[in-house]
């Protein structure tokens, strides 16, 4: 039984099906298919997909409530703002940007690493950083498997066979180069990379699951090269270029006799036996409102961070986290992303900004994670600095300088003057978990079925706000050297505001670890004390580094599938004894 047919669910379902198991995939949204749903002649519709969010979960079906701290009463999000949860097969993987970083080796033992480098008491009390309980050597083969499924384009710097120029020098050692070469770079990333290189940094093409050439993956599914159409993030890809479960896994998986997909079926809870030590199946509701119980030998929950955690809370799996006592694990260590940027206005440049893609661009990693010395800085973490022109679509791309009226003829003139000559440098930075940031069931607001909504309690920590100032300052140095007419630095400031879009990289809440008192799943994504239940996704991240999560979500899905098929099936039970 696999809950959710996005990246994680599709990868695991395919692994289990190939091991000979009969697998049923349950998906709350529709079956999505490039040919049927993403027609090149109609997909480039900004109003439909970006403004009206057609591919995202309908908040009338399910949403979250939010507040900044435990003293407040949370309110429901009725229109997606800060993040964009997906829906249907492929999930958020249909409308993601495609940026496919691997986390660095240090990330998987971050607390130990920082304590070792900066001292045993260097981590402030406001941060609840944890080790993952796994390491680089265990993760690397699964990253490799995911990149091969997705056809990820990029250039390696640090291969087992030796180092090579042009890639990201801070990446962990890799067995193989990327399956497809880097995408061609538009002008704004090229200008950024040239400047960064002059300043002694080492720019590299952002690793991207938008393939750069026709690619057939190990499942026999073929993708076509990205055409830089500029309708990418928030859109489905009509060119079969953006990797998602629907363009890489499901066309092969759905042909297999021992797999069945049930769409428009929303899971209500995981059922367990009387002592809660064994999952017995799931209960779901179909589009006619009928409830069904589906028994299963193994239950895999892979339904995006929010729904993973909510299902565990509603099913009574693990102890709900309490920030007052810092006890409990379900809902613990919810974290986000700290998004910063600097906008640059030029007089003499034409960036042709309509040429774009969610994951084409150049980046540097000198100010990311622990790639620089944090001694005396008063914060930990950092960000991935990059220029990734996603395509300046007509409704939203109105790059007018501050002081321009928000409507009328002056606004129109400023748009014309600045549309082609404006670019932005982003710094997508880490977000380190904190005891007061957590997920729980909302006591007030319920969904259409009467179940409590998931409540987010979150704010940026002092650590993250200091880090945001620091990394944005570094970006400003590069921006100045590019000599714009004007620039607007936007370091992230608090409090967290749920209205403007920032990032869909919501992580944690059902985290991996070595200790059942501070984590929910072991390194095989197996739930402590419920050995036939696996919960897979970014919900397992103990904190969020300055990287996009999808590469690691894919790797964890392969890791779980590998553990189930190679170890669990032979000897069902706890794979790590406590």
């Amino acid at each position: 039984m696999v809950v959710g047919l996005g990246w994680a669910g599709a990868i695991i379902a395919n692994g289990l099906v190939d091991a000979g198991l009969s697998v049923v995939g349950v998906e709350r949204g529709p079956w999505r298919d490039t040919a049927k749903d993403f027609n090149i002649a109609s997909v480039t519709d900004e109003l439909r997909y970006s403004q009206r969010q057609e591919l995202m979960l309908r908040t009338a079906q399910n949403t979250i409530t939010m507040r900044n701290n435990p003293s407040q009463t949370a309110l429901p999000m009725r229109k997606w703002g800060s993040f964009h949860p997906g829906n249907g097969t492929g999930g958020a993987g249909n409308h993601w940007a495609g940026i496919t970083f691997r986390f660095q080796p240090e990330e998987f033992h971050l607390r130990s690493h920082l304590e070792e480098r900066y001292g045993a008491d260097s981590i402030p009390d406001e941060l609840s950083l944890q080790d993952w309980g796994t390491d680089w050597n265990e993760m690397e083969p699964h990253y490799d498997a995911f990149e091969k499924i997705a056809g990820t384009s990029g250039r390696a710097a640090n291969l087992i066979s030796g180092r090579q120029a042009g890639g990201n020098p801070f990446e962990g050692v890799r067995a193989n180069d990327y399956p497809t070469p880097p995408l061609k770079q538009p002008y704004s990333p090229t200008l950024f990379a040239d400047t960064a290189r002059e300043m002694g940094y080492k720019p590299f093409p952002v690793p991207s699951s938008l393939v750069s050439q026709t690619y057939t993956n190990p499942l026999g599914v073929t993708m076509g090269p990205c055409t830089f159409c500029g309708f990418c993030t928030n859109y489905g890809c009509a060119n079969y270029s953006k990797a998602s479960a629907i363009t890489t896994v499901l066309p092969a998986l759905i042909r297999k006799d021992n797999f069945e997909a049930r769409t428009h079926c929303e899971v209500l809870r995981v059922t367990t036996d009387s002592d809660g030590r064994r999952a017995t199946g799931i209960v779901y509701v179909d589009s006619a409102g009928r409830q069904w119980e589906q028994p299963a030998e193994i239950v895999v929950v892979a339904a995006f961070t929010f729904e993973n955690v909510r299902l565990m809370l509603m099913s009574g799996i693990g102890e709900a986290y309490d920030p007052a006592t810092r006890r409990g694990t379900t809902g613990r260590n919810y974290a986000y992303q700290t998004a910063n940027s600097v906008q640059l206005f030029f007089d003499d440049k034409n960036f042709n900004p309509f040429i774009g893609a969610g994951a084409v661009g150049m980046g540097i990693d000198e100010f990311n994670n622990d790639n620089f010395d944090h001694s005396g800085l008063g914060f930990f973490g950092g960000g991935s600095t990059r220029v990734t022109p996603i395509g300046a679509a007509p409704i939203q791309a109105r790059p007018t300088p501050p002081g321009t009226p928000r409507w009328g003829s002056q606004w129109k003139r400023a748009t014309v003057d600045n549309y082609a000559s404006t670019m932005s440098i982003g710094c997508e930075a880490s977000n380190y978990s904190s005891p007061n940031n957590y997920l729980s069931l909302d006591p007030t607001y319920r969904d259409r079925l009467g179940r409590p909504l998931l409540r987010i309690t979150f704010d940026f920590t002092d650590n993250d706000l200091k880090m945001a100032q620091y990394v944005t300052g570094k970006v400003v140095e590069i921006a100045k050297r590019m000599n714009p007419r004007q620039m607007i630095p936007s370091p992230r400031t608090g409090p967290w505001d749920g209205r403007p879009y920032q990032s869909s990289h919501v992580v944690g809440g059902f985290i991996m670890g070595v200790d059942p008192s501070t984590s929910s799943v072991n390194k095989y994504l197996q739930v402590w004390d419920v050995p036939n239940l696996f919960v897979v996704g970014a919900s397992a991240f103990p904190q969020n580094p300055g990287y996009n999560p999808t590469g690691t979500v894919g790797a964890l899905a392969f890791k779980a599938a590998d553990a189930i098929t190679k170890h669990y099936l032979r000897n069902p039970g706890e794979m790590i004894s406590t």
């Binding site: 490039t34 040919a35 049927k36 027609n39 090149i40 002649a41 109609s42 026709t214 057939t216 499942l219 026999g220 599914v221 073929t222 993708m223 076509g224 090269p225 055409t227 159409c229 009509a238 060119n239 079969y240 066309p251 092969a252 042909r255």
Partner: protein, 411 residues
């Protein structure tokens, strides 16, 4: 002595029983199953995947509708009471049990070439499929075509009751290819133009219209036929559903999905060699010289090129080279050079989806453009494609597009 005779009789009886049983051994039934795949019986006789061969697929002919019958061994509604001789009469003479005449939508003019041993194996297999009680009214033709006896005259004019004669001067694989192409695979049923009676017309394998699709020219003509395809490319097309020039769509998608993706490599190569050598066709039917393309200054070509670069080049590339495995190459593509542009017009108007096979599960789609391109615009872009990058073919008019649009809206 008496004992000995008894023993001998018993032995003979045993031998006879063994001999009879041998005809329904595993390998014969399995061979029969493979023959049913080669002949793609399911294309017409399986309307419901849950009830294989229980009939029910409607065939639209210029004369009216025929529905393929139930060929499962159900006694009441299928072939349960048929003998092998009844079956053979159907397959080789178009005469069903009791003497009624079949309509040649059942390709008995091709199946008549089948060898007796193959017919026996196919029959042995058909006896093993699950009987399904499903009554099908096969003949839904209007008067006077519903008079089956008329087929006697049709047969006299159009049907040649013959056996397959291998050509001793040809290699075995070409003979095998001929046996398959002309017989069980019945390629000509779609790819050879029909005469006014619906029989084989002139220009064998030069293409014909089926369900508003062009079943293209499969002669070795290098310009309009498949002479520019290598043997491996033709095998790739039949086995996986696509090659760099084309993906199977329309009725050919069904053929690949149910039939040729399952053919043995030997049979695929035999068919490819037979077709590419042109052994089965009259040489004079092929045009040796490619026509000249329209001048790039032609008004339709000029207008069409603008549409092409705006709407088509993202996938098919500015030089028409496409992306192998995803977006067909348009340059030097024989399918584009057919005199009849029906399929091209159709896929631009209504879109099309490639067949999905185990080898190529992606099944990419050509999107529909009929909703936002006018008849004029489509006529121009198709004319441009038909006269660019080594292609050369007659112009397409807005009227041609309007006609197809009307036909599709009626579907």
């Amino acid at each position: 002595m008496k004992t000995l005779i008894g023993f001998t009789l018993l032995s003979l009886a045993g031998t006879a029983l063994t001999a009879q049983a041998a005809s329904t051994e595993y390998q014969d039934i399995e061979h029969g199953r493979y023959l049913s795949v080669l002949g793609d019986c399911a294309a017409c006789h399986t309307a419901n995947e849950e009830q294989p061969l229980a009939g029910g697929v409607s065939l639209e002919t210029p004369f009216g509708t025929l529905v393929a019958p139930n060929i499962t061994p159900d006694a009441e509604t299928g072939l349960g009471n048929w003998t092998f001789e009844d079956f053979k009469g159907t397959m080789t003479e178009g005469i069903g049990k009791g003497g009624y005449h079949l309509y040649p939508a059942m390709p008995y003019p091709a199946y008549t070439l089948m060898r007796d041993e193959d017919l026996r194996d196919l029959w042995a297999y058909l006896r093993t499929v699950s009987p399904v009680n499903h009554d099908v009214e096969a003949n839904q033709l209007p008067f006077p075509f519903n008079i089956r006896l008329a087929m006697m005259g049709w047969n006299w004019l159009n049907f040649d009751d013959r056996d397959f004669q291998p050509d001793p001067d040809r290699p075995d694989d070409i003979n095998r290819g001929a046996y398959l192409v002309e017989g069980l695979d019945h390629c000509g049923t779609c790819h050879t133009p029909r005469n006014f009676m619906g029989g084989d017309g002139d220009g064998k394998f030069t293409g014909a219209i089926v369900d508003d699709w062009l079943a293209p020219n499969i002669t070795p003509d290098p310009h309009k036929g498949i002479g520019g395809w290598s043997e491996d490319e033709l095998v790739e097309y039949l086995k996986t559903g696509g090659n760099r020039f084309d993906f199977a769509s329309g009725p050919m998608a069904d053929e690949v999905r149910h039939s040729s993706q399952y053919w043995t490599d030997d049979d695929l190569h035999a068919v490819a060699r037979y077709l590419l050598t042109g052994a089965g066709i009259d040489e004079t039917a092929s045009s040796a010289d490619a026509p000249e393309p329209l001048a790039q200054s032609n008004a339709q070509v000029q207008a069409g090129s603008k549409i092409y670069f705006d709407r088509c080049a993202g996938c098919h590339k500015t030089d028409g080279s496409g992306e192998n495995g995803m977006f067909p190459q348009l340059a030097e593509n024989p399918l584009i050079n057919n005199d009849n542009a029906s399929s091209l017009i159709r896929v631009v108007l209504a879109g099309s989806r490639a067949v999905d096979t185990d080898a190529k599960p992606t099944a990419p789609a050509m999107p529909a453009f009929g909703w936002d391109l006018s008849d004029d615009q489509i006529a121009n872009v198709v004319t441009f494609v038909r006269n660019s990058w080594g292609n050369a073919a007659p112009t397409v008019s807005a009227g041609d597009v309007a006609e197809m649009r009307k036909a599709l809206q009626g579907e």
